[in-house]
Subunit: 204 residues, 2 copies
DNA sequence: TCGTTGTTTAACAATTTTGTTAAACAATTA
DNA sequence: TAATTGTTTAACAAAATTGTTAAACAACGA
């Protein structure tokens, strides 16, 4: 042997993640994964029997990566505006580190909703929005924010965080941004998203 | 012959659009398109030589369908808040009628940015945001709205409109919505998105 | 009625992709 | 040093998919 068991397994997983996220399941090629891992296809199947199995591992890992952080914030005892700031900061930071991930998850989710929903449920980290929903409802009743349905507020938060990553090529195209310009744009959003959301629900 | 030239061509295009949008280019199968069109694969190639050619036709048609409307609003002389209301209403209406389209465009755009950007440019309907950008800058200078960079404001608008369609399966999952419930949720957003955006830039 | 055009059927070629296998080899461990 | 485990090579089997072709047929217009 050249490297130990665990090391190549990790190399393969890293390569597989990269290729699956760039291409999506259907367009991903085992050969490309092998190349990117610096090994051959035979060894790929030696470690992970099939493309499907490899994919499931990657996908589970990916969502296991996002969900706990969101769950933690949602369940915390922080005040609403604070939570919004935490969620946006965390989400944008995360997507900055793994820019292909949101589009990848969404893509596969749209193509095999049932299968993917299973993987989500199996992860046992699906955030339960009920506590946060209640918190929002109470802020509304207390008159601290304008009346808004919690579901819409939450979708607004996630939308503003995630969408720019998903629509990156369009943003490049429409605003004529360079790679550098896009990075800068994203950094700005760390402040702007929370501010936008909070302004939108503050009482005037 | 059974139907005239133009009729089957249209039937094929409709089927192809449906399949490409559900599956994306890589996962779409010529057989499925033929089935959905109620014809056979041979005839598919008789009309459109290859999968690629068929795809390009579908994609060009799809963007040719979105862009003019947005362009029209952007270039109009309406006041800013009015424009925001028009854009959101139009966008959500459009995505309601073609719910797979946003995810589809985004997916292909992420997978072949160069090729797809070409198709966008060829369409000659790429909205030029400069006029709207100027309008926003002026509203800021006039003190009518809080200071915000136009690019962020525009991205916010599109994000709030489009994201729910792209993330439909997640929304179903997290909020436990039925198909009916989702439709309802979208209808609510027609009002909420414009309101959210306008609140977020109004002076307090 | 004849020719044209659209259409189906069925078979098939070509290509791509996934997955398997056997043989040889390398490095580590007992 | 011998057994084990990881790894490569290369060839190949199997399946899926795209694209082509020839033959027959149906409908319509000239």
């Amino acid at each position: 042997m050249t490297a130990d068991n665990n090391q190549t397994e990790q190399v393969i997983l890293t390569a597989a993640k990269s290729v699956f996220m760039k291409r999506g399941f259907a367009a991903a090629r085992m050969q490309e994964i092998a190349d990117e891992a610096g090994i051959n296809r035979a060894l790929l199947h030696y470690y992970f029997r099939s493309k499907e199995k490899l994919f499931e591992k990657i996908f589970s890992e990916a969502i296991g990566n996002i969900l706990p952080g969101v769950k933690e914030i949602i369940d915390s005892d922080a005040a609403l505006f604070e939570k919004i700031e935490q969620i946006t900061a965390r989400y944008i930071q995360f997507a900055t580190e793994q820019p292909y991930l949101p589009a990848f998850v969404i893509q596969e989710l749209n193509q095999h909703p049932d299968k993917i929903q299973m993987l989500f449920k199996e992860s046992n980290n699906l955030p339960d929005p009920r506590k946060l929903v209640k918190q929002i409802d109470e802020e509304v009743k207390a008159g601290n924010i304008i009346p808004i349905q919690p579901a819409h507020l939450l979708v607004n938060v996630i939308a503003l965080c995630v969408f720019p990553f998903v629509a990156k090529p369009i943003i490049h195209l429409v605003f004529g941004l360079s790679e550098e310009g896009f990075k800068n744009f994203i950094q700005e959003r760390k402040k702007i998203v929370a501010q936008t959301i909070i302004n939108s629900i503050k009482k005037h």
